[in-house]
């Protein structure tokens, strides 16, 4: 079980490196699609099927599709690679921070078993304590749709 988690994680990491270095946009978008699915599977393996479904629906199903639509509407195909100097510095900083955080976390006591909650408990909390956030997210989505539509339409 743990090895499975580890394999999926490492694959998603490698795919994200591919996104950095690729030049074709479609390949990058499809890689992103794969990453989302893998993260969804990770959610599933961690014991939250709801989030798995949500991830696949929203991210993989909604966002990627939207991006592919936008790409083909606009018609971009290839783009340039990254700047070598910038890349070196960025990667170095990246790994530096990563190692520092890993160092800190190394000694932090993690529990052996993770605690999972029941779904109704989660939704209770969502609709009781986080009601406002819920509603606002709803409004945000509507505003986003309307805004995008307004900004893009032909006059």
């Amino acid at each position: 079980m743990k090895e499975l988690l580890l394999i999926f994680m490492i694959i998603s990491l490698l795919i994200s490196y591919y996104i950095i270095f690729s030049r074709k946009i479609i390949y990058s978008v499809l890689s992103l699609f794969l990453i989302f699915i893998l993260i969804g599977i990770l959610y599933l393996l961690m014991g939250s099927p709801f989030l798995f479904i949500s991830q696949i629906l929203i991210y993989a199903g909604g966002i990627i599709v939207l991006m592919i639509f936008a790409i083909y509407t606009v018609g971009i195909k290839e783009t340039e690679g990254i700047n070598f100097k910038e890349g070196i510095i960025a990667f170095l900083l990246n790994f530096l921070i990563f190692f520092l955080i890993a160092n800190i976390l190394k000694n932090y006591p993690f529990p052996k078993k993770f605690i999972s909650f029941k779904m109704d408990f989660i939704f209770d909390t969502l609709l009781k304590d986080y009601l406002i956030a819920f509603e606002i997210v709803g409004i945000l989505i509507v505003v986003g749709i309307i805004g995008t539509f307004l900004s893009v339409r032909e006059r």
């Binding site: 910038e86 900083l93 530096l96 921070i97 520092l100 955080i101 160092n103 800190i104």
Partner: protein, 596 residues
């Protein structure tokens, strides 16, 4: 009484300011009369004050008491009140003269404003109660001298002469300041009365030092050797200016200072003798120079230097009474000579070269007045200057060297002035003569009368009593007649050579004297060029390099910094992102390093 003094001192200042700012609005002649009237006002007040034997000191403003005691105080005693009387009297007469003399001049109002300002500063110097106020007056008269010499500023030679006067004066002033500071440092006080009491507590070397320094200041102001070079060039100014400033008042400030500080110089006989020696040398040297001059006003300028040399010579060997008396007499006859010279120059349409004058029989009054002035200068009795000038010479017998120099100078004095007299008024007419302006004559006539009657100023030796309690010993007749004999020989020599004769003045000695022993030339070419070079270096390195460099540098630094700051403002969002994340990463790294 005190109110009178304050009014008398400040009324010239008041009229100077008023005429300076508002004088252009009223008719010009009125400005002249107002300024003259204010001086007359002061003169009447000073007369009342002089006749009143009360002596007092006024404290106008208390500036500081510790660590030094410096205040704005005025003193009225016999010395200062008599000097103030003479200053205001001669100033009044010169003002009267210049109302009509400068009538056709453009800057009439400016002239009177400056003249009144000058009188104010001179009175301040005279009435000052401590060395600082005297120094303020000292600087003030120097400033006004510059303003008035370069009065016709559009003429380049006049401006240069004004600057020369100011700069040479300033050299003396530096030493004057040294003298003041040395006294201030030791006595913490500069008030004349208080210094007089405390002077014995100062070590003798300090007294010598400050005595010398103050004397060098007096050299600059009173045009002694070697700082006399400004006075002949100062004749570029209008004639009333020469009469007032460079004959009667400003140049006598140096002598006045030594007279004021007589208690100091009594304690340092060596320095005093040196002063006397310098004075007599100057008298001799400038009399020689006057002999070879052709410009009338320059002859009178050198004559002033010479007579001032007499005064310093007398003051150096403690003949204070006669020196002061000679100062007063000199004020009268020198101003007289200058004003008559002005009339002559005016009537010959601005001709100043005596070689081009001759046979001025038409100018009867000028003839008589010039003769009076010349006789007075030569020290012929019964003019008062016999008692003062020949008095100085005969009393200097106690120092034989000085006696010798001064006696020879008496001969030269009468020689040069009568040379001028004979060349101007006799012989053939060389330039067209116009009528003399009758209105201008009233002033010299008054001065002439005073020159004749001035011996009465010293009745019963009251001037000498200012300084020493007992009268000086009367000398044997033989000694006191010798300078008189020399003067008479001088007059006769001049008559023989110059009366109705054209004499060729050439020869080696004449050439040497003509070029003033090349002193002025060496000074102006080498020394002045050297100074200019130093100025240039200063200008290049300090002015352009450091000062402008700093100012420009700050500007350039600003531009450079702002260019750097602008470079942060690329419109590119990626750049902002890069900067943002870099900064964030570094922050994070530094934070995380703490836990390592």
């Amino acid at each position: 009484m005190k109110i009178l003094l304050i009014f008398a001192l400040f009324s010239p200042l008041l009229t100077s300011i008023i005429s300076g700012f508002y004088g252009y609005r009223i008719k010009r002649i009125f400005v002249g009369w107002i300024c003259t009237f204010s001086i007359f006002f002061s003169f009447i007040f000073f007369l009342i004050l002089y006749l009143n034997p009360l002596e007092f000191e006024i404290l106008l403003y208390n500036w500081m008491n510790s660590p030094f005691n410096i205040n704005f105080s005025l003193i009225k005693d016999k010395l200062s009140s008599l000097m103030a009387l003479i200053v205001s009297g001669v100033s009044f007469i010169v003002h009267l003269y210049s109302i009509y003399y400068m009538k056709n001049d453009e800057g009439y109002v400016r002239f009177f404003s400056y003249l009144n300002l000058f009188v104010f500063f001179m009175l301040l110097l005279t009435l000052s109660g401590n060395l600082i106020i005297m120094f303020i007056g000292w600087e003030g008269v120097g400033l006004c001298s510059y303003l008035l010499i370069s009065y016709w500023y559009k003429k380049e030679s006049a401006s240069k002469a004004g600057v020369k006067a100011f700069v040479v004066n300033k050299i003396g002033d530096v030493f004057f300041i040294f003298g003041i500071i040395s006294i201030l440092f030791f006595l913490k006080n500069l008030n004349f009365y208080e210094i007089k009491n405390l002077i014995n507590y100062v070590p003798i070397e300090i007294l010598k030092f400050s005595g010398i320094c103050l004397f060098i200041g007096a050299i600059g102001k009173s045009a002694q050797f070697p700082l006399y070079i400004w006075l002949p060039d100062a004749m570029e100014g209008p004639t009333p200016v020469s009469a007032l400033i460079h004959a009667a008042t400003m140049v006598t400030a140096g002598v006045y200072m030594i007279l004021r500080l007589s208690f100091l110089y009594l304690l340092i006989p060596d320095i005093s003798f040196f002063i006397s020696l310098m004075g007599s040398f100057t008298a001799f040297y400038s009399a020689l120079c006057a002999l070879k001059e052709d410009d009338l006003k320059r002859i009178l300028a050198y004559s002033t230097i010479s007579q001032l040399g007499y005064m310093f010579a007398g003051a150096g060997i403690y003949i204070y009474g006669k020196s002061f008396f000679h100062l007063l007499n000199h004020a009268f006859f020198k101003a007289l000579l200058f004003l008559v010279a002005g009339i002559i120059i005016h009537s010959l349409k601005e001709e100043m070269n005596i070689k081009k004058m001759g046979n001025l029989k038409k100018l009867k009054y000028s003839n008589i007045l010039f003769l009076i002035g010349a006789l007075s200068l030569s020290g012929i009795p019964p003019f008062g200057s016999y008692f003062s000038k020949e008095g100085i010479v005969s009393e200097s017998i106690k120092e034989p060297l000085i006696y010798l120099i001064l006696t020879i100078t008496s001969f030269l004095t009468s020689l040069y002035i009568f040379r001028a007299y004979f060349i101007i008024f006799y012989g053939e007419e060389k330039t067209e003569i116009h009528e003399e302006n009758k209105k201008l004559l009233s002033a010299p006539i008054i001065l002439g009368i005073f020159s004749i009657l001035s011996s009465f100023l010293n009745y019963k030796g009251n001037i000498e009593k200012i300084f020493f309690k007992e009268n000086s010993h009367p000398n044997t007749i033989f000694i006191s007649f010798i300078p008189l004999i020399f003067s008479t020989i001088g007059i006769l020599t001049a008559w023989k050579f110059y009366y109705k004769k054209e004499i060729e003045e050439k020869g080696f000695i004449f050439e040497l004297v003509e070029n003033k022993f090349y002193f002025d030339k060496i000074l102006s070419t080498h020394f002045v060029k050297f100074l200019y070079k130093i100025s240039e270096i200063f200008e290049k390195f300090i002015e352009n390099g450091i000062i402008e460099g700093t100012i420009n540098g700050i500007g350039k630094l600003n531009i450079y910094l702002s260019k750097i700051l602008i470079s942060f403002q690329k419109g590119s969002a990626r750049f902002y992102l890069k900067v943002f994340f870099t900064f964030l990463f570094f922050l994070l790294i530094f934070y995380l390093l703490k836990f390592v």
